[in-house]
Symmetry: C2
Subunit: 249 residues, 2 copies
Amino acid sequence: MNDSMTTPAVILCRPQLGENIGAAARAMNNFGLTDLRLVAPRDPWPNEKAYAMAVTARPILDEAKLYDTLHDALADLNVVYATTARDRGITKEIITPVEAAKRLRKARPGDKTGLLFGNERAGLENDDVSLADCVITIPTAEFASLNLGQAVLLCCYEYFKAEDDTPRARVEHGPMHRKPTREELFQLFEHLEGELTRSGFLFPPDKVGHMTRAIRATVHRAKLTYQEVQTLRGMIVALAKGKHRVVKD
Amino acid sequence: MNDSMTTPAVILCRPQLGENIGAAARAMNNFGLTDLRLVAPRDPWPNEKAYAMAVTARPILDEAKLYDTLHDALADLNVVYATTARDRGITKEIITPVEAAKRLRKARPGDKTGLLFGNERAGLENDDVSLADCVITIPTAEFASLNLGQAVLLCCYEYFKAEDDTPRARVEHGPMHRKPTREELFQLFEHLEGELTRSGFLFPPDKVGHMTRAIRATVHRAKLTYQEVQTLRGMIVALAKGKHRVVKD
């Protein structure tokens, strides 16, 4: 994101429940959006239930702007996408939240963007939708209905994710959790296979080669840290000692 | 998804608020998951607030299974991913919901899978996490906290999306909304440019070529349907008539 780009505004058109306004603010906060706009909310504003729901996102509610009409709420924006679940019967482009996020991220520097959401009961009116560039529909299972907070969450999440560089999979290592050297791993093999031979587990001799390779494959697959190799060797010592004790008793 | 694959179970470990159990059920229902498991919920079960929140997902609550211990809730599963926001200090693989969805979709046929969520106050205990294959962490903005319902929603959404084939962008056309033929488009150009010439808009002559090409580019970019071409021609007729009337008066 370059400096001249602002995050999208979230516009809630005639929302009914304070809880959902709070949930929307929380979702925005979780994914780095800040500009909340409320068009003619049903209940008086500021709303106690919205604040209770927002938790750490209260500053977003403090800064939320109130409008009488959707026209005024959208006036300074250059790009607006309207979310809707229903078919409109009007030829309009329908995009997924993923595509919306991609386009919002590609908006021209300086362009102000917005995500428009209808109310809990009926979503956006056709006249509201007619003020937007195109329509976002969130793919769901059949007969599904998303609530307002959920819809805002998914759109904000996709917007964040579009430029998030978190690796899809990673292993976090503490300072003691470096990878073992091959030598350390070979010592583990020697130790384990020695005790398994002494205990009679690696038997009969013509199977030992295959059994050993299978055990080593298991160890490799576990991608042990140095710390874990040491722990495992301690476990082998303890188990082998126990075995000897049983034999002695 | 092949027939022998079941959708992942959602396991809520010691959840506190009925509202969040209901929100989890609704999120599951929106994205096609059905197997909800509750481990030692704080409030008595069944819970009225959960049902109020679940809306159309009440059957999922009716079928939810109750367990005393996490051990029992996980016993029949082959693959379990634990969601957590905090660093555990233990070397464990951390994956995103996108990666989790991909792996869950690739589970061997017949393997039962599960997504494990901690409670509202503290998430999962380290001992709970130690029963899972690896950890899902949802990428968020700094200082963000997802609530339980939001976390379940995002994981279920990614699971659904991993095999959803909704096109990222599409235009839905009604029966009257076929694309115009080139001939119909050329008639529009001729009609529009004719009226613009008569009205004196296309002037001076040395600019007309460029102006005409710019107008045609705008028309192409709008990707008009046949219906819209007809509407536009009606608008041109009406506007041109008005203009003539003003001139006559």
